[in-house]
Subunit: 247 residues, 2 copies
């Protein structure tokens, strides 16, 4: 997410300065090599020092800690946003740390691939980018974030954080869990590789996202637990109806 | 399925004679126009008269009736096969009508599109084609069918009818029902079009097959009811575990 954003920003504004930091030095090398950042920061605090806009692009459950670590060094007039898949929890922490200058964001893009090698400058072209201002968000900060979203080719749409979380639980988190569960069920009795080899294109489409990074998904589900449980309950009820109809 | 098979057979054997019949005259015109058949039969009995191989390509729940209608006119040495998505029920009727000359088949290919306009000569290239001989099937009939499968580019694999049905319930029929259920759940509270417009590529992949022809799927589920119910039960149990783990 962060790598693609850097590449897309560079595409829109060739002279932009993008300082990046990643705990993994090779990811940082890759980001510099692919043009996702223009400067390699020595640490996370150096990355935000002097910034006009700070984008937090980390597994969503780590966003509060990462924001807390840089809060003292983010310039007082900088706008802070993120790209996490759950919003209510992140927005709560963002507001506590950055007040009216924090605006949550979530691009509805991505793939089962991740890491700087998978970054693409056109990842956000034409996709929705949900922005989650609250009644306290400054209009100027909101404008900065939506301008960034538009610059990378995405379409901003505003939702309340809680509505976002309920929506993505059903549009993203539930399908992810179900894709994995379908693979589990298919492989429950027999030789997993042989069975999956017989699958047609429909099964492969439905379960493709089951190949996603499990650590990221643990983080996402943890950060959006209540809405995800509601969504699973909704699907189980619907399946019970289908089962009854068929019987 | 039938249209693509005709086109693929013609590709492999340009001089082949393929007589086709469809209850819909425009489908038959389309089949002739696209080269899926070489001769238009006036009725279903004319289509099988003199045939060496008869392929039943109809919604799976209608296969028993269609086979019964042509049984008297299928030459005594002809091999009969089908392409239906459920096998135990079809094989039972096929054996009763055609004895050791019936061999069930099911290509693991297809898409959410259907009809002669969607037919493709390369639909079966490289895909698995499950063939379901029984202990009574003649070796010669089995060979004819696997040769046809190979000629159209597919890879034959033999399974018992019941094992096939349990497998496709989990690899195909359950994912189909779940794709539709996920759309139902996503659209349960709100403006369906607006919500689905916000969905990312993951949701679209998982739910793409929900656009399939519902009539065909009613037929498939009806023809494979027991195995489908087992598969739904398996998924509901798995989802209950996932729900408990998350909570």
């Amino acid at each position: 997410m962060g790598g693609s954003l850097g590449m897309a920003l560079k595409r829109a504004h060739p002279d932009i300065e993008i300082r990046g930091f990643d705990a993994d030095p090779s990811a940082l090398d890759g980001a510099l090599g692919r043009g996702a950042i223009t400067h390699r920061a020595d640490d996370i605090v150096a990355a935000v020092t002097g910034a006009e806009v700070v984008v937090v692009a980390v597994p969503v459950d780590r966003a509060p800690d990462v924001m807390a670590r840089v809060a003292d060094r983010v310039p007082a007039d900088a706008v802070v946003t993120d790209v996490g898949s759950a919003k209510a929890m992140v927005v709560k922490h963002g507001r506590e740390l950055f007040g009216d200058r924090f605006v949550g964001g979530h691009p509805m893009a991505g793939s089962e691939r991740h890491g700087i090698e998978a970054a693409e400058a056109d990842l956000y072209d034409g996709v929705w980018w949900i922005v989650t201002p609250t009644t306290e968000t400054s209009a100027a900060a909101y404008t900065v974030v939506t301008e960034m979203v538009t610059a990378v080719g995405a379409k901003p749409v505003a939702l309340e954080p809680e509505m976002h979380d309920a929506l993505v639980a059903r549009l993203s988190h539930l399908p992810q869990l179900v894709a994995s569960a379908l693979v589990d069920v298919a492989a429950a009795s027999g030789d997993k590789e042989a069975l999956l080899g017989l699958a047609g294109p429909g099964f492969r489409d439905v379960t493709r996202i089951a190949a996603s990074n499990p650590d990221l998904w643990v983080a996402i589900v943890r950060a959006n637990q209540g809405a995800v449980l509601d969504a699973i309950g909704g699907l189980r009820s619907r399946l019970a109806e289908v089962e009854s109809d068929i019987a």
